[in-house]
Symmetry: C2
Subunit: 212 residues, 2 copies
């Protein structure tokens, strides 16, 4: 039952690794029970260390949340920047969606925390809203490029915004369905998801007055 580490049963970790672990664990606990319902002792215990370690690395409880926010947000922005290189709008939509869904599933906990940190006020909420805005903005921009050249950009974006949410919601619910329904093949799941996506894209195009 040895943990990792340079040698023996040493539980010590270099700072960078411990920080990463603490952030991961904190994200999961904050997502599961809420920020205020999770104590620093809880987080520390789940990491196998004690509270003062967290304070020495992150300063305070809001400081821990802030660090989580910055790290996750920066990763997302990096990914979105890569997507921007894809020239074709529809290909970019699919790739971006894929990226967002992948991120949502790989980092569900972090994103739940960020989304719920956005409510309320204070500098953290501002920062969180900034990242969310970036995410939504990227989706909107991409979807809006399906509009005909004649349509003003701002109008196209506004028209398209509810569909961005609906798409992500449907995708997330689809996974939940897959988890709750026994005996469904992956192929079936993928096929269904794909049909839903096609239908949504068709809908968006029609709404933007593009002949399909």
């Amino acid at each position: 039952m040895g943990e990792e580490g340079p040698r023996n049963g040493s539980r010590r970790l270099p700072r960078a690794a411990r920080e990463a672990q603490i952030l991961q664990v904190a994200a999961e606990m904050f997502a599961a029970q809420g920020f205020h319902a999770t104590s620093m002792d809880d987080v520390a215990a789940a990491c196998g260390v004690t509270k003062p370690m967290i304070y020495s690395y992150f300063g305070s409880k809001p400081g821990l949340l802030a660090a989580l926010l910055e790290r996750t947000g920066a990763e997302l922005l990096g990914g979105l920047a890569l997507m921007a290189a894809i020239p074709d709008p529809e290909a970019r939509i699919r790739a971006t969606l894929d990226l967002l869904i992948t991120r949502l599933y790989e980092q569900t906990a972090s994103w739940r925390v960020i989304l719920s940190a956005m409510r309320g006020d204070g500098p953290l909420a501002e920062r969180a809203r900034g990242y969310r805005a970036a995410l939504i903005h990227a989706m909107l921009i991409t979807l809006a490029e399906l509009a005909p050249p004649g349509l003003h950009r701002a109008i196209a974006r506004r028209r398209v915004s509810p569909y961005a949410y609906a798409l992500l919601g449907a995708a997330e619910a689809g996974s939940e369905w897959w988890l709750n329904t026994p005996g469904v093949s992956r192929v079936e799941t993928t096929a269904t998801a794909s049909r839903v996506l096609d239908a949504m894209l068709a809908l968006i195009r029609r709404d933007l007055d593009i002949p399909v």
Copy 2:
């Protein structure tokens, strides 16, 4: 600056009225700052009374949340029961959707609290998810009625189930969109929801081999 009340500047309210007020105020504060970040003293002060009043009416802090949940949930179930009287499946689906949107407008704060209570564990989360499950079930039954008479019910329900999830997932995400996007009219929300619904219904019908 007289408040209401039988006579003079009396701030006393009969129990039913005070309970309703407390629930309303608590819903708003829980929605704004989160359940754990809101103290009973805060709620009491915002109501113009003191803490022991809330304890005498609701027993505990979880008790207050539970009461909020039950009241809002019961109202929803009542509404759904009324929908069951509509014979035509498609009309029933539309009426149900409209009901959800109406509730969302009238009780924004309560629904925010319920949606966030669904995450996490504990009896309250179970209860909240129970209301959601009831919704999904109702939707499933109704969607399955779109199937041709020859198709066995169990098969129809199974075929339709991913769409029930997707539809409600999209609706949930749509709610989030509405909650996060200022200045959207109700007409606009309904229209968008209706278009998404149209697309989903067409998809479902095709999947059930019904000619549109």
